[in-house]
């Protein structure tokens, strides 16, 4: 089997999901810098791998794959990591539903605030839009805080899973965004401390990059 090829700059939150997952699995890979600021994803050589012109993309003997959450699940399944992605339907569904939640509810909430405050994108500069986004974002964290209060451990239950990878990165982004009034989320704080010792956390999640 040839070494896994990962296309995508290491600063992208969706690329970092894949890098952290690889670290958890102990998977060797070769990463190339693609995406804004690096090689253009509109390059025909990239578009044949991912017609969406987005990073990450991974390529192995089975071909090219895109969509970060799908990639993480694929890698865990290929390497038999049923701790990261449980085999029993019910436990697996708990992981997947929080991954889908990250991709929809949570991702939809932060964009305006983050683009305005961190990326300083003029299209997202209006204070009212930023304030509304920060409110929505905090409302999402309240839901996760409730969940972690119930599990008392990790997002999907007792053990660390891919749901913790994708939501850990999202929480790091929140911590790195200059939000003035931060509501308290004690269960999330305790959970995030629990992620610290994980392989790959310091390299790819809590690494000072929003």
């Amino acid at each position: 089997m040839t070494r896994l090829r990962i296309l995508g700059k290491a600063s992208s939150i969706n690329v970092r999901k894949v890098l952290w997952t690889c670290a958890e699995i102990g998977l060797d890979y070769r990463r190339e810098d693609w995406g804004s600021g690096f090689a253009s994803t509109r390059d025909p050589a990239f578009l044949v791998l991912n017609p969406n012109a987005l990073v990450p993309v991974v390529e192995d003997d089975n071909g090219a794959l895109w969509e970060s959450n799908t990639i993480c699940r694929y890698l865990a399944a290929e390497h038999g990591r049923t701790d990261l992605l449980p085999a029993t339907p019910r436990a697996r569904a708990e992981v997947e539903c929080w991954m889908d939640w990250q991709a929809t509810a949570l991702n939809g909430a932060w964009r305006h605030g983050f683009m305005g405050l961190v990326r300083r994108d003029p299209a997202f500069a209006d204070p009212a839009g930023i304030a509304a986004s920060l409110r929505d974002w905090a409302a999402m964290w309240a839901i996760l805080d409730g969940r972690l209060g119930t599990t008392g451990a990790h997002v999907a239950g007792a053990g660390f899973t891919l749901a913790d990878v994708v939501l850990g990165l999202s929480w790091n982004r929140w911590l790195m965004t200059p939000v003035e009034a931060r509501p308290a989320f004690p269960a999330i704080d305790a959970w995030y401390d629990r992620l610290g010792p994980r392989r790959g956390f310091h390299a790819h999640c809590g690494n000072g990059v929003p």
């Binding site: 969509e67 959450n69 799908t70 694929y74 697996r92 997947e96 889908d100 991709a103 929809t104």
Partner: protein, 209 residues
């Protein structure tokens, strides 16, 4: 019996009803969401903290939300489900990538188009937002035309799957909304192929409300 919470007009509820019907599984449905409310009641919040529909309740009491996760869970646990969701990791990833893509990319432009034309009075419609959504949507449907359907009848190489179910709701809206569409013949043929399925006609390809 399996219970599905959620109004039939919700595109995410439609996916679940469509799959249950494809699998021939009887179910009970409870109205919730939109004008039916209920989603902010404490008993509902205990099942689904997002105040959204659908929520699935299994006969053993297990509850699950997120429509795409529900589709995968049902395929893993119900007789016949394998046919729509192959087991090998790479075949599975070929289904899942289009499901995640639907959530991440297609949701937003199709939400704008649907809300503008179906739920917003004509005088209040933001036609600049519509123009942007048409460009974004057109670009995405073209990816389906040129990549997903380039050499096969359904989105995944394994055949008809829950990837088609996840995107089929937006597909109907794309063709049913009063908008200008680029000419995408393979997309149209895929829509017509789905229309041959009784469960799609019953739950998804229905008048928009």
């Amino acid at each position: 019996m399996i219970t599905v919470w959620g109004r039939t007009s919700s595109v995410n509820v439609m996916k679940v009803l469509w799959l249950l019907d494809e699998l021939g599984i009887p179910f009970e449905r409870v109205e919730a969401g939109g004008a039916f409310g209920r989603t902010r009641d404490p008993d509902y919040a205990a099942m689904n903290p997002n105040a959204t529909v659908p929520t699935l309740v299994m006969p053993n009491g297990f509850t699950l939300w997120e429509s795409n996760s529900i589709l995968r869970y049902l395929c893993r646990t119900q007789a016949g489900g394998n046919a729509f969701y192959p087991e090998a990791p790479e075949a599975r990833a070929d289904v899942e990538r289009w499901m995640d893509w639907t959530l991440a990319s297609m949701n937003e432009p199709m939400r704008v188009l649907f809300w503008t034309f179906v739920r917003t009075p004509e005088a209040e419609r933001d036609m600049d937002a519509v123009a942007k959504a048409l460009v974004a949507g057109g670009r995405l449907w073209r990816i389906i035309e040129e990549v997903a359907l380039a050499d096969r009848p359904f989105l995944a190489p394994s055949g008809f799957s829950i990837a088609d179910i996840a995107l089929g709701g937006f597909l109907h809206r794309w063709f049913a909304l009063p908008i200008e569409r680029p000419d995408l013949p393979r997309l149209r043929a895929w829509y017509e192929r789905l229309l041959l399925r009784p469960a799609y006609r019953t739950h998804v390809a229905v008048p928009m409300t």
